[in-house]
Each structure stands twice: as structure tokens, then as C-alpha cells.
């Protein structure tokens, strides 16, 4: 079972709907016991980094333990940003620090939020992106962006390059919304399900 962690941040139902469509069992849950039993974990979410405050405590503890047990973890949008050290958006909070660096606002030279379909440039070997054509279009909606790091396997250009996909071992993060990115997004989610 795939646990979709519920922390009251946006439209979680659309992530579940995508897994339903692909024929994989998933559940939206905030219960640490459910998350502990899951074969895979998804941290979805859109909105303000402040929302990740709801993840600290019991949920964070069980997610960290699952990571230690090599349970695949996929962070989407805000969920991915939480996997970094911090975000300018809510500097008082700490992320999981699984990837180095802080998420920062877009420069004033471009409109923010970055909303719409942009292209994914594959930047490394990736199990999550396997079979996805180079320069596939995916749907973004965010005001803060993660830096390019060693684990960046997909990058995107908007007011400079940023991390669109990060991957290291069983840890995966995507800045865009695969559940809203048409066939390209479903392809990526199927790759995650089949890990």
C-alpha cells in the first residue's frame, strides 16, 4: 500500500485518483501507524512551507524510520521542498535535510508563481524518469524553488535553472505535479509504483 501523507496541504485526492487510475492501492492518511506499515510513502502538498509544521513530531519520526528501512519516498512540490534543509518562505522551520540547501524565491525578473507547463531536462540517470522522453512537459505551480544539487536528475529553466527532480537511492522529489501532468506525469507515477 502507498501512504499519501495527509497534512492539510492542498488537493491530496488528485494524487490518490492517479494511483487509482494506474491500479495501485493507496490511502490518504495522517496516522503514524498506517504510514509505518506502508510499502511506499508520498508527501504531496501545495501552498506555504508553513504547512509542513504539521509534519513535525510523530509523522516526521515515522517517515525518518521508513527512510532508514529503504522504503521509497516521493515528495511532490511542497513535499519535495520539505526534503531540503529549509525554505526562505518559512525560515523558522527546518526541513528533513535529506538534500542540501534551502529553497528560495524566484528572482524578480520573472513572474511568480511559476505557473504552467514547462520542460524537464534530464540531468542524470534516474529510475523515476525511466522511459520519459527528454524535454517532456510537466505542470508546475510554485513560488519557491529548490537549488541544483548533486542529486538533481531533472532540471527546469525559469529565471535560471532549478531542481525539478531529485533522486538518491529510495528518495525521490519532484517540484511539479505528476498527478496534473497528463501522460508524462502518469508515466512517472507508474515508475514510482513499480519500484
Amino acid at each position: 500500500m502507498i501512504a499519501i501523507v495527509d497534512y492539510q496541504a492542498g488537493n491530496l485526492a488528485s494524487v490518490k485518483k492517479a494511483f487509482d487510475h494506474l491500479g495501485y492501492e493507496s490511502a490518504i492518511t495522517a496516522d503514524p501507524d498506517d504510514i509505518a506499515r506502508a510499502g511506499k510513502i508520498v508527501l504531496p502538498g501545495v501552498g506555504n512551507f508553513e504547512a509542513t509544521a504539521a509534519l513535525t513530531g510523530a509523522v516526521q519520526e515515522v517517515v525518518v524510520k521508513a527512510i532508514d528501512r529503504q522504503i521509497p519516498l516521493l515528495g511532490i512540490c511542497l513535499g519535495m521542498q520539505w526534503m531540503f534543509e529549509s525554505s526562505q518562505e518559512a525560515p523558522q522551520l527546518r526541513g528533513l535535510g535529506l538534500f542540501a540547501g534551502a529553497c528560495e524565491k524566484f528572482p524578480a525578473t520573472v513572474k511568480s508563481p511559476h505557473v504552467g507547463w514547462n520542460q524537464l531536462q534530464v540531468a542524470g540517470t534516474s529510475r523515476l524518469l525511466r522511459g520519459l522522453p527528454e524535454n517532456s512537459f510537466v505542470y508546475f505551480t510554485h513560488s519557491y524553488r529548490a537549488p541544483l544539487v548533486e542529486a538533481t536528475v531533472g532540471r527546469c529553466e525559469y529565471g535560471g535553472a532549478f531542481s525539478a527532480v531529485v533522486e538518491r537511492g529510495e528518495l525521490f522529489g519532484v517540484q511539479f505535479h505528476p498527478e496534473k501532468s497528463g501522460t508524462a506525469g502518469l508515466h512517472l507515477l507508474r515508475n514510482f509504483c513499480e519500484l
Partner: protein, 257 residues
């Protein structure tokens, strides 16, 4: 490169897609869930469903339509019409919408924009503005109408768009009442005026009739996205053909998709 978006709009009344001209003379155009799926397959970048009657009796019908439409749709999905409170917005999000469009209720109470944005994020709140050209002694300005174009508000569309941004709107959906259903082109002057005044994406609406109108609203109107209804439902301009024409004209498009 970030592409310009082509958004298919379904105007829904009592559970059916309808199409009018200048906000009246409604005709049946089909089932919302079926049309949504067809538009998604054809290459629409987003889908907007507007409940144009938005009466209390039709509310549960609408939520059912939203649920059915969202089920098979894997592109961004916005719902508008009759959203008067945070609870109304929550019901629509729970039914499967990714964004809500607020119009009259936001004019009456601009703080509603912030309340929804605080809970669901600014990216989930579109402020829809129905604008009408008004000529007075000094020239031209764009007035704002409320309740489906029925009531004048005395407000200026450009100023209201700016205020909506400050209140927390993530995007502006700008409809020209003058051009609605006329198929003679978007109001590029109106679009450009609002685009210049805000830093959030602006979706131009009203007047789409041919590919050249889209080229015009992206190049001259500087719109981030363009929305159309009847030309897609009636198959006048297939979305794929439109996107290829735009691409050939140098407008970045998600194509093939």
C-alpha cells in the same frame, strides 16, 4: 521554456454544458465529464468549469459534476461560479478541483481571496473579472460587472486586478463581456492593461474564434494563457491544430502532448 496555456472552458447550467453569446442566449453543448475528457485528450493544458447559474438548488448537482469530471482528468482543473465562502470553496476542492475561481463574492468581500489562499495556497485561487468597455469624456476604461455580467460595480478592472493580487490571488481570469461568444478576437487592449498592472499570470477570455486571435492575445495582449469554450466544443478549431499554428507563429506551446 514555460509555455503559453490553452484552456478549455465548460460553462455549466444545471449539470449540462451550455454556450451563450454575450452572457445570454444559452444552448446545450453536452455532458461536462465527457467534454472534459475529450478536451484533455485533444491537448487542452487546463480545464475550467464555470457554474453559470450557480443557484442554491443546483449546488449538489454541480459538486456531482465536479466529482465526475475530476475522476479521469489528469490536467489542472478549476471550478468557478457561486463560490461565496471558504466552505463553498472547500466543498469544490473536496470534489476534486485544483483551483477555484471567485468573482462576485470577492468583489463584495476581497478578504475572501486571502482566506482561501491561506488554506489552499495562492496558486489555488483565481480571481475572475468580467470587464466591459466604458467610454466617457476622457476616453476608454474597463468597468467591472458582477453576478454574471448583470450588475455594474463602479470599479475599474485594472485596479481591481491589482487589488486582487495584493489580497492573495494566484491568477486573474479576465473575460471581456464585449467579446464573449462573438468569435471576433480577444480584447487585447484590456488584456495588456491588466497584464501590465499585475505580476501574476493573466488568462484572457472572451472572443476566441480562430488561431490568429490566440496569436494576437499572446503576442499583443501579452496573456499567459487563453481560454475558449464554443470553438472547442463545436470542433470549429481542434486544439491540436490550434497549438501547431501557434507554435509555427513562434508562441511556445505544449505540443505534442
Amino acid at each position: 521554456m514555460l509555455t503559453k496555456r490553452i484552456i478549455a472552458c465548460l460553462d455549466v447550467d444545471a449539470g449540462r454544458v451550455v454556450k451563450g453569446v454575450q452572457f445570454s442566449d444559452l444552448r446545450d453543448a453536452g455532458d461536462p465529464a465527457e467534454l472534459a475528457l475529450a478536451h484533455g485528450r485533444a491537448g487542452a493544458d487546463e480545464l475550467v468549469l464555470l457554474d453559470i447559474s450557480a443557484t442554491y438548488e443546483h449546488r449538489s448537482t454541480l459538486l456531482d459534476v465536479v466529482r465526475r469530471t475530476a475522476r479521469q482528468l489528469f490536467i489542472p482543473f478549476t471550478v468557478g461560479g457561486g463560490i461565496r465562502s471558504l466552505d463553498d470553496a472547500a466543498a469544490v476542492f473536496d470534489a476534486g478541483a485544483d483551483k477555484v475561481a471567485v468573482n462576485s463574492a470577492a468583489l463584495a468581500d476581497p478578504a475572501l481571496i486571502g482566506r482561501i489562499a491561506h488554506r489552499y495556497g495562492a496558486q489555488a485561487v483565481i480571481v475572475a473579472i468580467d470587464a466591459l468597455r466604458v467610454r466617457n469624456g476622457n476616453g476608454l476604461h474597463f468597468g467591472v460587472k458582477a453576478t454574471g455580467g448583470r450588475h455594474s460595480t463602479g470599479r475599474d478592472a485594472v485596479e481591481w486586478a491589482s487589488e486582487a493580487e495584493r489580497c492573495g490571488a494566484g491568477e486573474i481570469l479576465l473575460t471581456s463581456i464585449d467579446r464573449d461568444g462573438m468569435r471576433d478576437g480577444f480584447d487585447c487592449e484590456l488584456t495588456r492593461a491588466v497584464v501590465s498592472a499585475v505580476h501574476i499570470p493573466v488568462i484572457a477570455s472572451g472572443g476566441a474564434g480562430a488561431a490568429k486571435h490566440f496569436v494576437d492575445v499572446f503576442c499583443n495582449g501579452r496573456a499567459d494563457a487563453a481560454l475558449a469554450a464554443s470553438i472547442f466544443h463545436l470542433g470549429i478549431t481542434p486544439i491540436g491544430d490550434l497549438k501547431q499554428e501557434l507554435q509555427a507563429a513562434g508562441v511556445p506551446m505544449r505540443w505534442p502532448c
